[in-house]
């Protein structure tokens, strides 16, 4: 079998207005591959403005890339037609950040779960549809009797978010794009939602693209990670390696700033350079140049990726003694 999803040198630039020349590079030459036979959880991490939500929108097909191609099972998603398009829409599902905003308050949970079944003609009968709903709700750890027939306002944030996952699950997707799925639920519920996602990957063979700014949850759920900063890949690799031994100055700053719920692990001493007064987006060099404590002259030219370990690469000249790796080949070094 081939690749489930492939991004080839995808760039997305947002232009502002017709007259203004100003534009924002939201995603800069990103390539990655998810294999069909090896379901995995890949984290895309970055702060606000790093392009992570743009990435989600691109691969759900909501917006077209400015350049580069996005292939689903070998076919360009912008050219999908007829049955192929329906299959893509069914097999690639999304869970969004805000469990309070995505529900229509007038419909019950039954309606919410049965509409996709009917749209994609997946259920043979009413009882079959119900069986599928019950199956999906059980899979996300909800008691069907507790939620079926209820309205969204009668449910807690955690229940709603799990229903969102169940809604995606009834369609038997191959790929789930989860954009900050736990950032708005309480800490005590986070654990159960993450456990649900991991169960999907393990037991149902669903690949998950987990988009987040929270590296603690990424560390616990994902096998591999890609760290974005202003649209460019800063570091990528095995989650354990990147988080316990970050090589790029940006990742180091990010990890040093995680408030670990641990009294012995204090915030680091890394000096914080303010993000204010940043240079324009059109700077061709390293995007982190202005804030980097190790900034050198050569950083004015964008650094390629250097392979710093078997499963780790960083886009930084501090590691230029290591072999270079083409950005197209990045996925090869990600563990599955």
């Amino acid at each position: 079998m081939g690749d489930l999803l492939e991004l080839r040198n995808v760039t997305k630039i947002y232009h502002r207005g017709l007259i203004s020349r100003a534009s924002t590079v939201a995603l800069n030459d990103v390539s990655l591959t998810l294999k069909e036979e090896e379901p995995t959880i890949l984290t895309v991490a970055g702060e606000s403005g790093s392009g992570k939500t743009t990435l989600a929108m691109l691969l759900l097909g909501f917006i077209p890339p400015t350049s580069g191609r996005i292939l689903y099972k070998g076919q360009d998603i912008s050219r999908l037609k007829g049955d192929d398009k329906v299959t893509f829409r069914r097999e690639v599902q999304a869970v969004f950040q805000d469990p309070f905003a995505v529900f229509n308050p007038f419909y019950t949970v039954d309606h919410l779960l049965s509409v996709p079944l009917r749209r994609f003609r997946l259920s043979r009968s009413r009882s079959d549809a119900r069986d599928r709903m019950v199956e999906a709700l059980t899979a996300v750890g909800l008691h069907p009797d507790d939620v079926l027939g209820r309205f969204p306002h009668q449910l807690s944030g955690g229940q709603r978010q799990r229903i969102n996952v169940a809604r995606a699950l009834v369609l038997k997707p191959r790929l789930l794009v989860a954009d900050e799925p736990v950032s708005m639920v309480d800490a005590s519920l986070r654990a159960s939602i993450l456990e649900t996602l991991r169960g999907l990957q393990k037991d149902h063979g669903v690949s998950i693209l987990y988009i987040t700014h929270d590296l603690t949850t990424a560390y616990h759920i994902a096998r591999s990670i890609i760290v974005l900063y202003r649209g460019s890949v800063m570091e990528a690799g095995d989650t354990d390696a990147v988080i316990t031994n970050p090589q790029h100055p940006y990742t180091q700053l990010l990890i040093d700033s995680i408030p670990w719920p641990d009294i012995e692990r204090r915030w680091g001493e890394t000096e914080l350079k303010m993000a204010e007064g940043e240079q324009a987006d059109h700077n061709p060099g390293c995007k982190f140049y202005a804030r980097c404590p190790h900034a050198m002259d050569k950083c004015r030219v964008a650094p390629p990726l250097f392979r710093v370990a078997e499963h780790q690469a960083a886009s930084c000249y501090l590691h230029e003694k290591n072999p270079r790796i083409d950005s197209e080949r990045l996925s090869d070094l990600l563990p599955v």
Binding site: E47, S48, S156, G157, G158, Q159, D186, A187, S188, L189, R190, A191, S192, L194, E195, R198, H213, D214, L215, T216, T217, Y219, H220, I221, D240, I243, T244, L253, L254, S257, I258, P259, W260, P261, D262, I263, R265, R266, W267, L272, M274, A275, E276
Partner: protein, 323 residues
């Protein structure tokens, strides 16, 4: 000076009267804070954290009502003040940074005008040049350039806007600052900058801080004491070290063990069950249906918040004194 009590809450109760019945959002709250102390107030959504903050500010709106209790800040009982006196007390004695404060800046007024407004409201006769200088200095205190005074909110990043809000809050040197999830919309690096700003400023003016939120990581890094709320009641108040190493209340224990850390990779331990609705609280201790140490007495009697060893307070029958 450092040991001066700046906040003392006693027997505070807030109820909301809804169509579905009366919900007691805060019940029997006692809390003391000394000058310079930093307290973290944690709990699930709906546990009464924000209600407590609003009650301290006397900003509970109908159908909610403060039903009894006192909030004494710096020697003044806020619950006994007239509305005008309360207006004067806000910002000068007690300041509040609400959730998403940075989105409350007026988009069509310069930052400076909004800061001057705050001073004018309390000191109408203050000369213009002096007021402006005070605002610019305060901006510097929170690591912003003096020129931010002339800027508009849209010219600032999220972290900068949040620091403007902090600057407005400390203009009149309040004795108590309440920050409700001040960094929930910011990424980790900016979050750290903002928290460090609050810490430095708080030390400088000697104010006590109450940090509200559910991010236990932030609590571990920032506060001295943690107060845990559950279904409208304070269930445990402990020093931050004890809270993280040896929590007493079963809910606090479950909360602490559900936290992700570097050591226990891939272990997810949620708290079984759901938070109860405030309209239908279970009898006795509200946590008893989810508690792993439940006893008969828990079903009938509400445990009071009692002093335990080394100044810790816990509301749980497990720690009842042997009679």
């Amino acid at each position: 000076m450092e040991d001066r009590v700046v906040l003392s809450i006693s027997d505070l109760r807030v109820s909301y009267y809804t169509d579905a019945g009366r919900a007691i959002a805060l019940d029997g709250a006692y809390l003391t804070l000394r000058a310079g102390e930093k307290l973290g107030l944690v709990g699930e959504s709906g546990s009464g954290k924000s209600t407590m903050a609003l009650a301290m500010m006397r900003m509970i709106k109908p159908p909610g009502r403060i039903e009894r209790g006192q909030v004494v800040v710096d020697g003044t009982d806020l619950t006994a003040l007239s509305d005008e006196e309360m207006l004067a007390a806000r910002l000068s004695k007690i300041a509040y940074i609400p959730q998403g404060a940075m989105n409350s800046l007026n988009p069509v007024l310069r930052i400076g005008a909004q800061m001057v407004d705050a001073i004018r409201a309390h000191e109408p006769k203050a000369p213009k040049s002096e007021t402006e200088e005070r605002c610019r200095q305060t901006l510097e205190t929170v690591d912003l350039k003096r020129s931010v005074f002339e800027m508009y909110a849209h010219e600032l990043s999220g972290g900068m806007k949040q620091r403007v809000c902090i600057a407005i809050d400390i203009l009149l040197r309040p004795k108590l600052i309440i920050a409700d999830e001040p960094t929930s919309a910011l990424d980790v690096v900016t979050q750290r900058q903002v928290m460090e700003t609050i810490r430095r400023v708080q030390k400088k003016i000697g104010a006590a801080v109450i940090l509200i939120g559910h991010d236990m990581g932030l609590m571990a890094q920032f506060v001295d004491k943690v107060a845990v709320m559950y279904a409208g009641r304070l269930v445990e108040i402990s020093a931050v070290r004890e809270m993280f190493t040896k929590p007493l209340h079963p809910y606090a224990r479950a909360l602490i063990s559900s936290l992700p850390s570097l050591e226990n990779k891939g272990v997810f331990q949620g708290i079984p069950g759901l938070a109860p609705s405030l309209l239908r609280l279970p009898g006795g201790c509200a946590f008893h249906p989810r508690c792993s140490n439940v006893m008969d007495v828990c079903r009938s009697q509400v445990p009071p918040l009692e002093e335990h060893d080394d100044g810790r307070q816990v509301a749980c029958h497990l720690y009842d004194r042997k009679q």
